[in-house]
Symmetry: C2
Subunit: 303 residues, 2 copies
Amino acid sequence: MTELAWRHGVSFTEALADVASRTNTLLDRLMPVPPGLEARVVEAMRYAALGPGKRLRPFLVLASAHLFSVSERSALQVAAAIELVHSYSLVHDDLPAMDNSDLRRGRPTCHKAFDEATAVLAGDGLLTLAFQVLAEADTHGDPMVRCELVHSLAQAAGAGGMVGGQMIDLIAEDRPLDIGAITRLQRLKTGALIAFSCEAGAILGKAPMELRLALRGYAHELGLAFQIADDLLDVEGDAGETGKPVGQDAAAGKATFVSILGVERARDQAELLVRQAVAHLELFEERADLLRQAARFVVDRRA
Amino acid sequence: MTELAWRHGVSFTEALADVASRTNTLLDRLMPVPPGLEARVVEAMRYAALGPGKRLRPFLVLASAHLFSVSERSALQVAAAIELVHSYSLVHDDLPAMDNSDLRRGRPTCHKAFDEATAVLAGDGLLTLAFQVLAEADTHGDPMVRCELVHSLAQAAGAGGMVGGQMIDLIAEDRPLDIGAITRLQRLKTGALIAFSCEAGAILGKAPMELRLALRGYAHELGLAFQIADDLLDVEGDAGETGKPVGQDAAAGKATFVSILGVERARDQAELLVRQAVAHLELFEERADLLRQAARFVVDRRA
C-alpha cells in the first residue's frame, strides 16, 4: 500500500485541492447509480456529496494521517466517510423544517433540486453509507481499528455530538444563549466532526494517546475558530463568494459569537484560537506544517 | 457469558414478550437523557424507540442467534441496534413530506408529539446510535464480527435496501407499479432489514454459509408474507387494534399486493409464503420451532 505523501514544501492550497480531487474520485466510485427506480435517491446523494465544497474535513483526515505514515487508501476511505456525514448534515439542516435554506454553495439545496422527501432519504442514505465505508476491509487491515472508527464517528455525529448541537441550535432560535452555551453548541454541532477528522489519522496510525490528545486539542481550537469565521462571514461576507445569502443569523434572531462579542472581539478571539491550535502541534515538528497552514486558512477564508 | 436460552417448549407469544422486555431494558440503558439542552432530541429518540411495538425484528435476531449458541448479551446488542434502525425509519417515513402520518401504534407520531425538526434529528440520532452499538465491544468479542454486522446493517438500511425501497414507495404514488416492481419495492423497504435480523444470528455465531443462506431464504419469504399481511390489515384491519387509520393505501391511490391480487389471492399468497419460509428451516430441526411459529404469527396477527 502506498504511504500518503505530499511533495516536500507543498502549499496548503495545493494540498487542499489535491485532497478534494482524490476524495471526489472515491465518493463518485462509492455511489454508482443503480438501474432501479431507487436511482433517484442515489442521484440526490451524489448531488449533495459531489457538489462544490472545500473538503476541509477530508483534508484534516489526510493531513493528520500523514503524521503517522498511514496508507493513502485508508486515509481516503475515512475522508470519504466523514464527507458523507458532513454532506448528510447539510442536506437535513437545510430542510424547510430546519434552517429552510434554498441555496448552498451557490446551488439550490438538495430539497430544492429534488424534493423534500427525497432530501430526507438522501441524507439518511449518506449517513448510512458512511458507516458502510468505514466497516469495509479497504479502510484498515485491522478490524479493531475499523470498529474504533465506526464507534468514534457515531459518537461525534450522534445526539452527543453533531445531532445534539443542531438540536440546541434549533432551541436557540427561541431562547437567547450566553457565550458559554453557544460555545458548547458549536463544539457539538461542528466541533465534534472536525475533532474526529483530526483524530482519525491517529486512530488509523495507532498513535500513542499523547499524540491523539494533541490532535484533539488542535481540532478543538480549530473548530471554534472555524465557527467564529463562519459567523463573521455571515455578517461581512460576500454572497457571491460564500454561495449563500448573508445576514441569515441576524434575520433569524440567532445569537452568534459575533452578535455577542461584536465583530472586533470575535476576530481577536478567532486569532487567539488559531495560535492556541497551532501550539498543540509542537510535538509533530515540521511534519504538521500543513495543519498549521490549515488553521490560518480557516480564519482567513472568504467563503 | 450466558448463552441465550428459552425454557423448553416456550410458546412464541411468551418468547416475543420476553424479547420485547429485554430489548426495551437495553434500549432504555442505551439512551440516557443528558443534562444539556440536547436532552430534547434524546427524549424524542426515546419516545420513538421505547413506545409500544411488537419487537418482531429483535425477536428474529434472538431466535436466529439461539440456533448457534450465541451469548444473550451479543444477541441483545444487535437486536437493539436493529430496533433503533426500524424506529428511525418509522419516524422519517411518518414525516409530512413523506407519508404524513399523525398516528403510529395508537400514539401521535414523533413529529406530532415533538415537532418536525426534532423528528428529523431524532431519526438521525437513532440511526447513528445503531452503528455505535454494533461497534461496541459488548456486541461481540471478535472485532471482525462487529465490522461484518456494521457493514451488513448499512447495506440493508441504505440506498440499496430500506432507503431505496422507501424511495420507490414515494415514486409509486405517482406511477402505478406492477406486481414485480411492488415485490422488489417491499424486498428493499421491509425485506432487507428483516433478512438482516435473521442473518445476524448466523453472523454472531460464525455459522457456515449454508445455514446463513437458509436463514436468508426464510427471511425473504417471511418479509413478503409480513408485507402482504400489512396490506390486508390496511384493508380489513381494525384501527383500534392496529393503532393507525385503515384504508390509507387506497386513499393514497397506492398499488399494493391486495389492490393488484385482490383479498383472496393475497391471502393465499401469504399462506404459500409462510409454508415456503418454514421449508427453509428444515436443517435446524426442532431448534427452529420459534421461527416456525413466528412465520405463522406474521400472517395471523391482527395488528
